[in-house]
Symmetry: C2
Subunit: 521 residues, 2 copies
């Protein structure tokens, strides 16, 4: 609700506008053409700026004006310099004028339907990226795109699903698809390329070059997005193969680029993307955070959903594991944030040692050996929603340990590169669905996140989606995106000997150097 309220209060400079126009009928004394007459009327309300009208729409204007008493509800969007007439409706039709913000995730796509006049959120939906069937990750999709017809297939998969979901969402809110006149799309560089139908071939090949950096405004028909055909799509820019529009949108949503104090924004997905800076400078860095942080990769890990464990508490005295599940249902699995909670609690209860290894004497009956690998029972079959024991293997814990070590190393490396220390940071933004659910205390205990006061941590939720929505609603925000892009310095993370040393030290809970984590017992 905080974000939505912010969006609304900032909604003072829309670039997609609905304008009621009343023109005077033509006469022998005023033989201005119908289109120009309408533009004149719009110009009065708009307060200046050239207005362009597509021929396909121009042809409809004469009979429209005569049939509706020379009045119309018009919709316009602002391009680079001119306004463009998008639609005209009878004034009596009065309905919402909407747009859709899209977070093009590699795994999950989220859409938000916005009322462009009020800034209200009309609805949201999220769904698995259908391109997963062609390739689970970016790299396999890039290779898939290289096949005969592969690029087209990936784009079609995406567009068909996106169109279906947008239509479903609009329909459920009683909004005609013609009333959706704008879209704003933020995704990583490869996802953005696939959305645009551009071959990402060179993105994964040295020196890692995207086709383009600034798609800007495009027409829906150029990509096959089935909103109002004369509408417009704003596509977030990237600054390279590893730093995409989703992070630009994240910076926009965080507002860190306006503050005097230095903030850090971390978006944990398949990669951990880190941005730090303030109103004077912005540095971005990306590195592999490891698969354990993404739902669906660990055998037990899964996306948040009914019955999925998202919080864990262990009684250190008894070793009793208390789990909270989504919907308070019997547990059927665990998501990434639940896993971080679990591992932190296991450590605090002495059931894992500083290396993250299961301590048999502390785990007792919870230990199972499956295929020779030790497993820990998180929920016994009698309590689980599956009727079977829910277990976590040592291998899964090891993966999480590597991921948390990677995260810590990335964060440490990044702040060292800019010659800062953790005490310099007042704000630590955690973005992403994962960030929304993570318990910062557990992440600190694990040594995954730095030992800052808990109130420094702020979960921003899906900042890519929030930023996309902001750029859709505000011209200033839309223009700010290019400013952010131009100001961000992208730093390639050098995986050198120093990095590897740091990584090795970070593979302990919380760290070999415990002075870094004074709050962890």
């Amino acid at each position: 609700m905080g974000k939505q309220a912010m969006d609304r209060s900032e909604h003072t400079d829309p670039w997609i506008r609905s304008i009621e126009v009343k023109t005077s009928p033509p006469s022998l004394k005023d033989n201005t053409a119908d289109v120009d007459r309408l533009i004149k009327g719009i110009g009065k309300e708009l307060g200046g700026g050239e207005v362009k009208v597509d021929l396909s729409l121009a042809g409809k204007i004469p009979s429209f004006l005569r049939n509706h008493g020379y009045q119309a509800e018009t919709v316009l969007y602002k391009g680079v310099s001119s306004w463009h007439l998008t639609e005209l409706w009878p004034p009596a039709d009065a309905g919402s004028v909407c747009g859709v913000a899209v977070d093009l995730g590699t795994s999950v796509i989220a859409i938000r339907l916005l009322d462009l006049v009020t800034g209200d959120v009309k609805g949201e939906a999220s769904f698995l990226n259908p391109q997963i069937q062609a390739g689970p990750d970016i790299l396999t999709r890039i290779h898939f795109a290289g096949r005969e017809g592969g690029l087209q297939e990936l784009q079609t998969l995406l567009m068909d699903r996106l169109n279906k979901e947008i239509h479903r969402l609009a329909q459920s809110r009683g909004i005609s698809i013609q009333r959706i006149v704008g879209a704003s799309v933020a995704g990583n560089t490869t996802m953005t390329h696939l959305f645009l139908g551009l071959d990402p071939y060179w993105i994964c090949r040295e020196p890692y070059i995207p086709v383009l950096n600034r798609p800007g405004l495009i027409r829906p028909e150029e990509v096959g997005l089935k909103i109002n055909g004369r509408g417009v799509i704003f596509v977030f820019p990237n600054t390279g193969s590893y730093f995409g529009g989703d992070v630009m949108a994240g910076i926009l949503a965080s507002g860190m680029n306006h503050r005097e104090e230095v903030s850090i924004l971390v978006d944990v997905g398949t990669n951990a993307e880190v941005v730090l800076g303030n109103r004077d400078w912005l540095v971005a860095c990306a590195g592999a955070a490891g698969p354990a942080l993404e739902g669906g990769v660990a055998s037990m890990g899964m996306m948040a959903g009914p019955g999925v464990i998202d919080r864990v508490l262990i009684d250190p005295a008894t070793g009793e594991i208390h789990v909270r599940t989504i919907g308070n249902l019997p547990p059927v699995g665990i998501c990434g944030s639940g896993m971080i909670d679990l591992v932190a609690q296991l450590y605090l209860a002495g059931m894992l040692d500083v290396r993250g290894k299961i301590v048999p004497e502390r785990c007792g009956a919870r230990i199972r050996k499956i295929d020779g690998v030790p497993h820990l029972v998180v929920a016994f079959s009698k309590d689980s929603g599956t009727g079977e024991d829910l277990t976590l293997s040592q291998a899964e814990i090891d993966t999480l340990m590597r991921s948390k070590a990677a995260m810590h190393t990335i964060l440490t490396t990044v702040i060292r590169m800019v010659h800062l220390e953790w005490k310099d940071f007042r704000r630590f933004y955690v973005a992403g669905t994962f960030g929304s659910y993570i318990n910062p205390r557990s992440a600190i205990v694990l040594g995954m996140l730095p030992d800052l006061p808990l109130d420094a941590y702020e979960a921003l939720g899906n900042t890519s989606l929030a930023g996309a929505g902001m750029a859709l609603l505000s011209l200033r925000k839309r223009n700010e995106v290019d400013g952010i892009r131009n100001r961000v310095t992208y730093v390639e993370m050098n995986v050198n000997q120093e990095f590897m040393n740091e990584f090795s030290a970070a593979k302990f809970i919380p760290h070999t150097d415990r002075t870094l984590f004074p709050s962890v017992p």
Copy 2:
């Protein structure tokens, strides 16, 4: 040649440009995207300004750059504010970059192929407007457009022929159609609407309102023009139903809007369009000049072509008629300008009286009665190219007399409206194919044109085509068109009692008031 030379000397600010770009290959230190890398290279040559690239072209750039050593010949056009990348070719391909100027006449369409880099005229062609088969004049075409599918049919007729002729012209000059990246189109308001696929329904109905006044820049695909699909078409604006882009182009071509002295520009077609003014003011007026001034309407009149009489001299002593024909062939007909010469000479030889009636006693053996109407033999069967007598009927002469009277009345009315007299004019521009061939002396003798010194008359040829070419070659000229449009005051000719009195007086040769024509004996 004069016009072409002028076009070339002014060709210093092209808005469609060919730019050779050499970019540096990408590296880990410079991971700018391929499109942005190319744009950067173009920007250096262009000297600033945003460059937009369509997705369909963007997708081709990565492999293009890698296949051609990061070099390209690019073509760009300037829109309202940004430049647009239109095409890229291998640097070795080096060919012309061309555009086509189009004069969309109601009866005849003229096209001129221009080299956009040098400004050279590559070729020209003219052909009958194929819409004639649907309706010979504007009014019947407007009605035809109102039928089911009629508008589409008219546009298709036009486009198919235009595409065929442009392709033929390009092919004859060895120019690939992809190398034609721009077009500039000037026509009257209705023809422009039909070109754009816009219904001209309200143009002929009070209060005579066009669909639009300023089509501006459109994409070829919007109208089905088959030049390079990513090219651009500039369409001349109108200021109303009766004052179209052809006249705007005429003003542009004459340059009268830059001069201190007051000039008058007359374009004689189906209508006589008159513009007068200087760098401070422009007034335009249109009125029906009558069908006799257009080839193909009078039974003997025809378009200029081999064997067509374009000059006539009569020996007043003998009544001998000497004719000059195009190609010096035996005469087969007479064109409008030839007819004006003929009638003036007949009058000077005393073979017509001041009312324009045949004087039997002076014409002798040249008189024939056909269906009870007196005819005059212009060329006897033994001298003609048809083997039959070439005759001119009293009815045809009467039509010409009405036309010349209309022209004189229009000119007189227009200059009275602006409170000027003929002595205030230094320049009298006669535009149109008709204007190119007219003998001003004959037109003065008839009382059709005012009795100015002969050197005040200047035939500008097809000013609509010339103006279209100028706007295609120069950004300043293209922008000037809107300035002209905004400055022209259109004056509706009131056909009131005073007009009719003037018209009656002008139906004599040269006029009832002979003091107006002191040079005519």
